[in-house]
C-alpha cells in the first residue's frame, strides 16, 4: 500500500511526467514561461486546481453516471479555476494581470481533465490526491526549468534580479531575445524530452507507421 502511494506521488515527476511523456499542458508551458515568477504562480495555481478537482471527483466517483461524467468533471474543474482566479485577483492582482487569460485556461489544460478521467475517477481520494500532487509537481518541475532557462538567457536575471550584467550596463552578457519569445519554449521542451528519452529509452514511442523502402524507390 505504501509503495502504491509513493508510486502515485513520485512517478509523475520524471518517469511519467505529464509534459515530457504525455506531452500535455504545452499551451501554458509555452505561454507563461518567459519569467520564473509567473511560472511559479502558474505551477501553484495548476497544482491547487488539480488537487482539488481530483479529490472531489474521486469522492463522487461511484455516483458519476458514465454518460455525463465529463460534464461533471469539467464543472468541478472550472469552479476550482474560477476560485483560484478570483483569489489571484484579490491577493496578487499584478500577477493576475501578467498571467491574464492563462489562469482561466487551466480549465482546458489537458493534465487536469486527464488525471480526473484516467485516475481520480477510478481510485480512492487519498491516492488521487497524491497522484494529483505528483502530476502538479511534475508539471511545475518542467515549467520552472523552462522558465529558468528562458529568463536567465533572455533577460540575464532570475525573479527580476540581475545575474548576468548586460552589455548595455557595461557587462559582458548580450540578452538573447529569442528566449523571451514563445517558440524558444518549444525548443527547450523538445530538448528536455530528448534528454529524458535518451536517458530512459523505455519512454520512446513506437513509430505508428514503418517507412518501407519499396522496389520503385530502390530501383531509381
Amino acid at each position: 500500500m505504501k509503495t502504491r502511494l509513493r508510486r502515485a506521488l513520485v512517478t509523475p515527476l520524471v518517469d511519467e511526467n505529464p509534459v515530457t511523456l504525455h506531452i500535455l499542458g504545452i499551451c501554458s508551458a509555452v505561454a507563461i514561461t518567459n519569467s520564473l515568477y509567473s511560472a511559479l504562480v502558474m505551477s501553484a495555481a495548476l497544482t491547487a486546481v488539480l488537487c482539488f478537482s481530483s479529490v472531489v471527483i474521486s469522492v463522487i466517483r461511484r455516483h458519476l453516471p458514465h454518460s455525463v461524467r465529463i460534464i461533471v468533471q469539467v464543472t468541478v474543474i472550472a469552479s476550482a479555476v474560477i476560485v483560484v482566479d478570483e483569489m489571484l485577483q484579490a491577493f496578487a492582482p499584478t500577477t493576475s494581470q501578467i498571467l491574464s487569460v492563462f489562469v482561466g485556461l487551466i480549465i482546458t489544460n489537458c493534465i487536469v481533465l486527464g488525471r480526473a478521467e484516467a485516475f481520480a475517477a477510478h481510485n480512492p481520494p487519498g491516492v488521487s490526491l497524491l497522484d494529483a500532487l505528483g502530476n502538479g509537481l511534475g508539471f511545475s518541475l518542467i515549467l520552472c526549468t523552462v522558465a529558468t532557462i528562458r529568463e536567465l538567457f533572455g533577460s540575464g536575471g532570475l525573479l527580476g534580479r540581475e545575474i548576468f550584467t548586460s552589455a548595455a550596463a557595461g557587462g559582458w552578457f548580450e540578452p538573447v531575445g529569442l528566449f523571451l519569445l514563445p517558440p524558444s519554449a518549444f525548443f527547450i521542451i523538445g530538448g528536455i524530452v530528448w534528454l529524458i528519452r535518451s536517458y530512459k529509452p523505455q519512454q520512446r514511442e513506437q513509430a505508428e507507421f514503418e517507412i518501407i523502402a519499396t522496389d520503385s524507390v530502390r530501383n531509381r
Partner: protein, 260 residues
C-alpha cells in the same frame, strides 16, 4: 438508484452545478471588497502617473502613490453648463452611495453617441494637478464601447487644453494579446504631444496611420494592427468625450479666456 438511469444523471448534474455555483459565487462575493480596494489604488496610480508629478514609467510604492495624489484635486464639471460646479462637493461624487442620489443621467442624442453609451452623467469629476504653473494639467475621464466591453481610461491635457499630455486605459475586457494592446506603454507614448482641436477649434483627433507630412499628422495617433475594432472604439470614445456633448463646451470657455 441505478447509476446509469436518466434520473440519476440529472440528479448528479444538478447537485454538482448547485454546489459549484455556491462555491464560485461565495468566492466572488467574499473577495470583492479586496478586489475593489485594489482597483481604487490602481485608479489613483494611473491618475498620479498622468499628473506629470512623478516619472510616469517609475514603479511606485503605494505610499508614493497616495502622497503624490495629495496634489491632484478632483473638480466637478457640470456638463450641461460646461463649467466647474462650485456648489457641489466633488467628494460626494467619489462615494458611490451619495453619488447615486445626486447624479442625473442625461441621454445622448444618437447622432452624437459615437462612444455608444446612450446615457452619460451630468456631473463628472476631472482632476486638476496642483503645480506652480498658471495653466495646470487637467485629467479627464473617458469611456466607451470597444469590441467586447466598455473601455475606461483617463486622458490628461496640457494647460492649453488641447495638447495631449498622456493617456491610459485602466479597465476593459478586450481580447487578450490583441485588443489589450491599448494598455501597452509603447503605444500610449505615441499619444503624447498630439492635439485634439485645430486652429478653428474643430475636433480633428483620430486614430490610424497617416503620412508624416500630412497636415493631419499632429492630430493622428498610430493604430494597432489586428486590433482595429478596439482601436476604432477608442477613437470614437475620445471623439465623443471631447465633442460637443462632452467636454468641448467646457474647453471652449477657457479658450475664450475665462478664469479657471
Amino acid at each position: 438508484m441505478d447509476n446509469e438511469s436518466p434520473a440519476k444523471a440529472i440528479l448528479v448534474v444538478t447537485v454538482t452545478a448547485l454546489l459549484c455555483s455556491i462555491l464560485v459565487s461565495s468566492a466572488a462575493v467574499f473577495l470583492q471588497p479586496l478586489q475593489k480596494a485594489y482597483a481604487d489604488i490602481e485608479r489613483i496610480r494611473y491618475l498620479v502617473q498622468l499628473s506629470g508629478l512623478v516619472d510616469s514609467d517609475a514603479d511606485l510604492s503605494e505610499f508614493a502613490i497616495v502622497s503624490a495624489y495629495q496634489d491632484v484635486t478632483p473638480r466637478l464639471i457640470d456638463l450641461e453648463t460646461g463649467s466647474f460646479d462650485q456648489n457641489l462637493d466633488p467628494q460626494s461624487f467619489e462615494d458611490p452611495d451619495t453619488a447615486d442620489e445626486l447624479q442625473q443621467l442625461v441621454s445622448i442624442p444618437a447622432e452624437l453617441d459615437s462612444a455608444r453609451l446612450e446615457l452619460r452623467p451630468r456631473w463628472i469629476s476631472v482632476y486638476q494637478v496642483e503645480t506652480d504653473s498658471a495653466l495646470p494639467r487637467l485629467i479627464f475621464p473617458i469611456y466607451g464601447q470597444g469590441m467586447w466591453s466598455t473601455i475606461y481610461g483617463y486622458l490628461a491635457l496640457e494647460g492649453d487644453l488641447n495638447t495631449i499630455a498622456d493617456v491610459v486605459f485602466y479597465e476593459h475586457e478586450e481580447t487578450a494579446g490583441i485588443g489589450d494592446q491599448i494598455q501597452r506603454p509603447a503605444w500610449l507614448v505615441g499619444w503624447r504631444g498630439k492635439k485634439l482641436y485645430d486652429e478653428q477649434g474643430q475636433l480633428q483627433f483620430d486614430i490610424g496611420s497617416i503620412d508624416v507630412d500630412s497636415p493631419e499628422y499632429d492630430y493622428r495617433v498610430d493604430g494597432i494592427a489586428g486590433a482595429t475594432v478596439t482601436v476604432d472604439g477608442v477613437a470614437d470614445l475620445v471623439r465623443y468625450w471631447f465633442g460637443p456633448h462632452g467636454y468641448a463646451p467646457f474647453i471652449s470657455r477657457f479658450d475664450a479666456g475665462q478664469e479657471r
